[in-house]
Every structure is written in C-alpha cells, then in structure tokens.
Amino acid sequence: MSTTVIIPTPAKAPARPLLPRLLPYLLSLPALIVCIGILVPFFTAAWYSLQRYNLAMPLNREFVWFGQYLDMLTDPDFWATVRVSAVYAASTVGLELLLGLGIALLLRERTRFNNIVSVALLLPLMTAPAIASLMWKLMTNPNFGVLSWLVALFGVHDFRWASAPSSAMFTVVLVDIWVYTPFMMVLLLAGLRSLPQQPFEAARLDGVAGHFVFFRITLPMLAPYIVTATLFRMLDSMQQFDIVYAMTQGGPGDSLMLFQVRAYLDFFQYTNVGTSAALMIVLWALTYALSNVFIKQWLKLRERTHGAA
C-alpha cells in the first residue's frame, strides 16, 4: 500500500482515500464470494481421495492416506486410462492443429467469400459436443446411417464405427475434430491476419519460394499463436467427457475410458467415491501443471499484441 503514487496536490481530509483504496476489493468481492463456494467441493474431493469410501459400504470407510494413489500405480485399469487419454489428446490436438492451420492459410486473405466461409465453419463449434455425438451416431447407424452407406460404397462393409473396439477411438476422434477444428482455425486465422506485412512483401519482391516463406517466415511468426491454441485445446482434450459419454459411455469394453469417464462410472456405477476422487485429483494435477505453462504463454502473447496495437 505504501507504493501508491503521491500526487502533489494539497492533501484533503484523511477520510477520503479510504473508499478509493477499498474500491477494487468491493468491486471484485461479489464475484470472488460466488467462486469461493466452489473451493468447498474441491477440498472435499482431496479429502475423499485419501479415504477408502464406497457409498454402498459405509461401514468400511477408513482413512488410508495415500494408499489409493499407490494402488493406482499397480492398477492396469489406471494405466489403460492414461494410455487412452494420451492417445485421444495427442490425436485430436495434432490433427486439429494441422487441419486448422491448413484452413486458416486457405482463408487468409480478407475477401468477402473467405469471411462467409469462416463464419459457416464456426457452426460445428457452436453445436453442443454431446449433441454433436448424437448427430454422428445417427449418421453412423449400421441400418440407415449415411456414412455407413458411404463407406460401404467404397467397399468397406460392416464398418462398425463406435461400436467396435478397433474403430471406436477413430470415431470419437472424428467427432472431436468436427467440433473443435473451427476453434483452432479461428485462433490461427486471427493470428495470421495480425502478422506484420513487411517481411512477406520483402520476400515477394526478392522472389522467395513459397515453401521457404512458409517455413522461415509464416511459421516462426505464428508460433506463439500455435502454442497458445495447442495448449488450450490440449487442456480441454485431456478432460474430454461429453463426446465420449454421449457416444459410447466409455465402451466398448474400456476402449474409451478417459479420465473423467472412468471417474464418472466409478462414482455412479460402482459408488466408489474414494477412487473417483483420487483419479480426479491426478487429472487435476496434470492439467494444473499444463495450465500454468499455458497462462504464462498466454500472457506473453497478450503483452505482444497489446504492445503492437
């Protein structure tokens, strides 16, 4: 508080500075109070994660410290979840980045046509992911689905989409790509269009080859935007629930048991409050670490765009 800049004006009565000093707290307090309630279930989850606690067996409830976390390390189901989540996050984010960047490059010039296309491409992003899953479920129905019919035309008969363990991951990744590629596209398009024009003009005057311009000028200048968009999607993708739950509820078998899907089933199907809480704490630790990297990157980018503006 002693760092307040003192403006050399005649000091007024000491009662006056109190309100300005309290003002920021008064303004942000209501939002804070509403949010602080959320911390209660958060701490409850941390507390439950240290207990063997099954709603169906209340008498067996006991405090086991980090026992459940240690059990996880030797639990093949846990490692299956880690593997499935990693495959899901890596493939969705990787493919969405490539596709989103490609589309953004196609739409880079500010023409009327390009703007209409980019708005039309936003529609999947505005669809609720759970509903998007239902749409794709109808389209991949083995009896009448238009996509099942289409792949049969190309000679792939009995492709079972989300209901076969071998193609379930492919199907949900496809839905994720359908929903979220537009997000990548919007961010990268905004980035592309905000790049300074001089390097590109200089390259054109010098007759530099297109791929050279792309790899040596466009990509490096776009890199902060790419990193931001990728981290953002990565955080979401690690926590995917809606698409997978609406499509298959984690099945067939446990081929799509992402972190949150498993925690949901642990809690509601097996009433195992303790293990589901421990699983969520592990996911939280992972996302918290990643989100710190992300926020730092985000602020750096923000400072740059603010500085340039």
């Binding site: 209501p30 529609l123 609720a128 239902l134 238009v146 926590q239 985000w298």
Partner: protein
C-alpha cells in the same frame, strides 16, 4: 497458377462438405418419416413432413409400444432459463470485477484474477462429484438456483478475461477527465467505462451464453430430471424413444438451432470474442 486455384477450390469444397454436411443431413432427417430414413440408398427426394416436430411440441410420441409422453419442450425451457440467468448473473458479478482488475493494481488482485481463471481449466468432475452429494443433502438438485450458481464456473472466467482486456484497451484518461468535471466514480463507470467496453461485454455475454447452453456434464450430474437442459434431455430422449429416428433428429435440430442462429446473427462479436478471449485476453 490455374492448377493452384483449382487445388484451393477443391480443398475448400472438401472442408465445407465435412463441416457442414452433418448439420444439413440431420435437418433433412428431421423432415422425414421413419420409413424414408430407413430406405437405402439415402435419397434427397421425399415429401417433407412436420410430424416429427409436432410430436415433440405436443409432447405425445407415437411409438410401437403405444403413446409416450415426452418433456422435450420443458428441457428447452430449462436451457433458456439456465443460460439466460447464468449469463446475466455473471455479467452483474463479472463486469465490475473485470474493471477492478483492469484499472487498479491492488494487493492480491492478480492472485484473485488467476484463481478465477484457473477454474476454467480444472476438470469439472473433480468438483461436480462431491458437489452432487452436497446437492442431494441440501435439496439443491431440484432447484434452478443451485445450477445457476454452478454455471458461473463457465460464464464468470470467460466474462472476466474478455471484458478485462477491453477495459485495459480503453484509455482511463476519458474517465479521469469526466471525474475532474465533478462526476462521481459510479457515474464515470456506468457512463464512460461500460459503454466503451460495450463490444467486449457483448462478445463475452454471447460466448458465455453459448457455452452455458452447450454444457452437458454439469446438469447431467447435478440436475434432477425436471431441471435438465436440452443437452441432457436429448440423450435421455434417445434412450426413451428407441427407434424414432425422425424425432431424434428433430430434437437435435431444436437443441442446436438457438446457438447456431445466435452465432450467425452476431458473428462479428463471436469471432472477436473467440479470438480476443483466447489470444488477446
């Protein structure tokens, strides 16, 4: 050069086809009878029927095993109520807070802002699962208030961060000049700062409405059957109606129509909010 143009056109056609065809196809299905849907090969030649929509709106569904009563319209109403109230509450709470974070450097200010932002990135089930036990104990799972409160987790961080950026971009000098003219702080805030950040507030409000509408997991875990929005309702409807594919398609169209229409209507703000919210802050 001609080849280059041709490739570009082909690529754009494929992209548009992939991203728009599913929506187009579901709309087509929603105007077909079950017999037309089940016919192979799929055809675009059919006599459109409104029967699927009238069944949803009247609430009586003709199934093989008799008439099924459905509450889909009630789900739609729940979605409207939950999303609207959550966004309004988040604006009332979030805009002053965003102003505080943008204009004042105060102790803990940055920490508070960060904590609220980090809510955006925490896995929702971490808090939702224990919360469902509390909600049952307190009887909150059958109220709108409990859900509107928890929907703040979606709306508040978004509004805080987008609107804060707008307040920071607007120079404080105009406000100072207005204050020197003898106006109160409150008048400077409502007459100068808020109108200047207007586009940001609109973009943030629009985006958080869409995200609240599209949310699935909060209501899936916390809401009783009577309070469920369309996202959860549609899934339950699929299970209940069995093979009434035309009605399922119509229910999907009704669920996504509001957000798609809103997005198209206010696309300028939407693009601005999306890119500023994530990139510019």
């Amino acid at each position: 050069m001609a080849l280059h143009k041709l490739l570009r056109a082909a690529a754009l056609t494929l992209v548009l086809l992939f991203f728009l065809f599913p929506i187009f196809w579901i709309v087509v299905m929603s105007f077909q009878t079950n017999e037309e849907i089940l016919r192979l090969p799929p055809s675009l030649v059919f006599a459109p029927t409104l029967a699927n929509y009238t069944a949803l709106i009247s609430g009586h569904l003709q199934t093989a095993s008799g008439i099924l009563d459905i509450t889909f319209l009630h789900n739609l109403w729940n979605s409207i109520l939950l999303s609207t109230c959550s966004v309004l509450l988040a604006l009332v709470l979030g805009v002053p807070a965003a102003y505080a974070f943008a204009r004042f450097r105060f102790r803990l200010g940055e920490d508070i802002a960060f904590t609220m932002l980090s809510f955006r990135f925490a896995p929702p089930l971490l808090v939702l699962l224990p919360l469902s036990l509390y909600f049952q104990d307190l009887g909150l799972n059958d109220t709108y208030i409990g859900l509107i409160w928890i929907y703040q987790l979606i709306c508040l961080p978004l509004i805080l961060w987008i609107v804060r950026g707008y307040f920071e971009d607007a120079s404080p000098d105009i406000e100072y000049a207005y204050r020197i003219d003898g106006h109160s702080w409150w008048r400077a805030f409502t007459r100068i700062a808020i109108p200047l950040a207007g586009p940001g507030i609109a973009a943030a409000g629009l985006l958080s409405f869409i995200f609240a509408w599209n949310n699935f997991v909060f209501a899936l875990i916390l809401a009783s059957a009577d309070k469920q929005p369309v996202t959860v309702g549609a899934l339950a409807f699929v299970t209940a109606s069995g093979i009434q594919y035309g009605q399922i398609a119509a229910a999907i169209v009704l669920s996504i129509l509001p957000t798609l229409a809103l997005a198209l209507y206010a696309q300028r703000w939407l693009v601005e909010g999306l890119s500023l919210g994530a990139v510019k802050g």
